[in-house]
């Protein structure tokens, strides 16, 4: 029986894939991981918080009683920085209900916090996507190519890591100009090295495997080896890093906004809401308290979910 060369290569490739699956158990791996994840209270708590936040962001117009930038002076009988008024807790019925009070521009704080979830989630998602794509590309090239290219790329990453990250982010935003988009870029740049390093380590470990050598012997191009063999097998730790990265990104972005370098008024962004009213902390603490709680809850959700995922995907860690 004669088989065409192409067919033979295909067979070999499939077999290489099967052998990989046997040894690295990717088939049942995700299902097993899912089961382990479900068994963890903290991971599930994180998931609930994150899903809840996504729902709040999606249905913000329904949940928020007012528009985020609606100035209520003249509309209702209220004054600047009125403290929270909740009817259920004994606030008189004739005063309009504002469960988190009003800010310095007589806007409903609760509505602004609800809309703020859209800003934070979008920012976290895009920052991490950008850092993940660019970082892991650098890492993959560095790890696969080796030699001087590896050396140069990794020294550049070392320089980025050589700065305290907030400091470098501030400097980058100073160059690009303040604003949410530039803050996003700055945070993506300072978090790049983490992804690059993890990807590089993965590539170094995987490229020595027999199935990669087999692919190379069969004449696959570098590009196809990277895309088909190495990257799919190195995703696990990157997924975990990315989830935790959302938390970091949101926290750093809030810091930048607090310094006036991130979101600009009148955007309903938690960090800048807090920064604008920070001198009023002694007279109207609610204006500082609630945005901070919102930031903390979001960051906590992603942190817990990321930890849960790490434990689930790598059972050898952290029993």
């Amino acid at each position: 029986m004669t088989v065409s060369r192409k067919k033979a290569i295909e067979l070999l490739e499939n077999e290489a894939g099967d052998i990989t699956r046997l040894f690295e158990k990717p088939t049942g791996q995700w299902r097993l991981a899912l089961r382990r994840f479900r068994g963890r209270r903290s991971g599930m708590t994180g998931l609930f918080i994150v899903v809840g936040l996504i729902l709040v962001a999606l249905f913000a117009p329904i949940i928020a009683p007012y528009e985020p930038n609606e100035i209520l002076i003249g509309v209702e009988d209220v004054t600047r920085r009125d403290p929270p008024c909740i009817h259920l807790l004994g606030c008189p019925e004739e005063t309009p209900q504002h469960i988190m009070g009003l800010d310095g521009n007589v806007r409903d704080v609760f509505s602004r916090i609800v809309y703020g979830s859209r800003v934070s989630l979008t920012l976290g998602f895009f920052t991490v996507t950008l850092a993940l794509v660019v970082g892991s590309t650098i890492g993959a090239i560095s790890g696969y190519a080796g030699g001087w290219l590896d050396n140069i790329l990794m020294r550049i990453m070392d320089v980025i890591l050589g700065f305290p990250s907030l400091l470098l982010a501030i400097a980058i935003v100073a160059v690009l100009g303040p604003g949410l988009r530039n803050a996003l870029l700055a945070i993506a740049i300072v978090t790049l090295p983490g992804y690059a390093r993890v990807m590089r380590a993965q590539v170094l470990a995987i490229k020595e495997n027999d199935y990669v050598t087999a692919s190379r012997a069969l004449g696959s191009s570098t590009r196809s080896i990277l895309l088909k063999r190495i990257i799919p097998n190195s995703l696990t730790p990157l997924v975990v890093l990315a989830t935790l990265g959302v938390a970091t990104a949101i926290l750093e972005a809030a810091g930048l906004s607090f310094l006036g370098l991130g979101a600009q008024p009148p955007a309903a962004e938690w960090g800048s809401m807090l920064a604008r009213e920070r001198n009023q902390v002694f007279t109207s603490p609610h204006l500082v308290f609630f945005p901070g709680i919102a930031i903390m809850l979001t960051v906590l959700g992603f942190n817990l979910m990321g930890d849960g995922m790490r434990d689930a995907l790598d059972p050898t860690l952290n029993r």
């Binding site: 020294r155 070392d158 990250s165 160059v175 500082v288 029993r319």
Partner: protein
Amino acid sequence: MISYITRRTLLAIPVLIGIVIVVFLLVRAIPGEPCTAILGEQATEAACERFNEANGLNESLPVQLAVYIKNVFTFNLGDSISFSRPVTQMLIERLPLTTELALSALFIAVLVGVPLGIVAARRHNSIVDTATMAFANVGVSMPVFWLGLMLAYLFALVLRDTPFVLPPSGRLSPGVFPMAYYDVWGWELTQGSTWAKFNEYLGNHFILNSLITGQWEVFWDAVKHMILPAVALATIPLSIIARITRSSLLEVMGKDYIRTARAKGATEGTVVRGHALRNSMLAVVTIIGLQLGALLGGAILTETVFNLAGVGRSLFEAITARDYAVVQGFTVVIAGIYVVVNLLVDLSYAYLDPRIRLE
């Protein structure tokens, strides 16, 4: 070991040079002329020309870079354009505050974080463990500036008539003046000499200074002012240290030699203190070093919240004012400290774990 030290130290040099160049280029890329930022209304073309001439800003970029690198390595960081004072002098005044803040925070983080981690690991899966880890998870998720403001509100306003009242801003109360140790001990220092400057720098560590000279009133006042910022800054590293201590101790407790020690009849205390703890501290030491970067970044936010004139706050103001010399000088010094600390952490790690240096 010596070859490892040499190799690791040599590796840090290109990183340091890279940092100097990146800072130089970033500062030059900040939009807007320093001249218009500093002179404001009076920034006519002729005035700008004179200004640039005086500050060496009309040279080509490579020349400016070369001059700058030469100056950095001779500890001449130039003059602040907006304050018209040497950057080194500003560092002498402002770095000690940040150092004291960062070290106090680290002190709190280690002092509380390590025991918390140990307790959580010893009572694995108990309510104590769950509570500690919940606390640690909330701790890493807290924005430093928010915590700072909330602590200020709580301790300066809510508790103002109790013994727990703490000041919400500043470094010392009005009217409290520390006397530098060299004045207390009557040292003769030549004005302007490097030795005098070095002593001035040391003397500006108010807590240390008042402690060694026994100025207890100043000491207590400085400590009281430091508590809130240090606690705010410590929360994140504290939580991370607690988590690492716990997971690292748990991992070690599962090792064969621990079983052997138990089989020999060693008491639980001996097993934990004598065998497990020492080996689990490796990871903790690394993490403590790595937290320094986060501390320096967090210092910018903490100093802003508590109105402290440290390097973090000054750096932020200098960036907004396009004060090239200050931004360059402060960033290089901070990044330099960071690189050196990381180097020391790596070396201590290699010392503690011989496998590292053989790689």
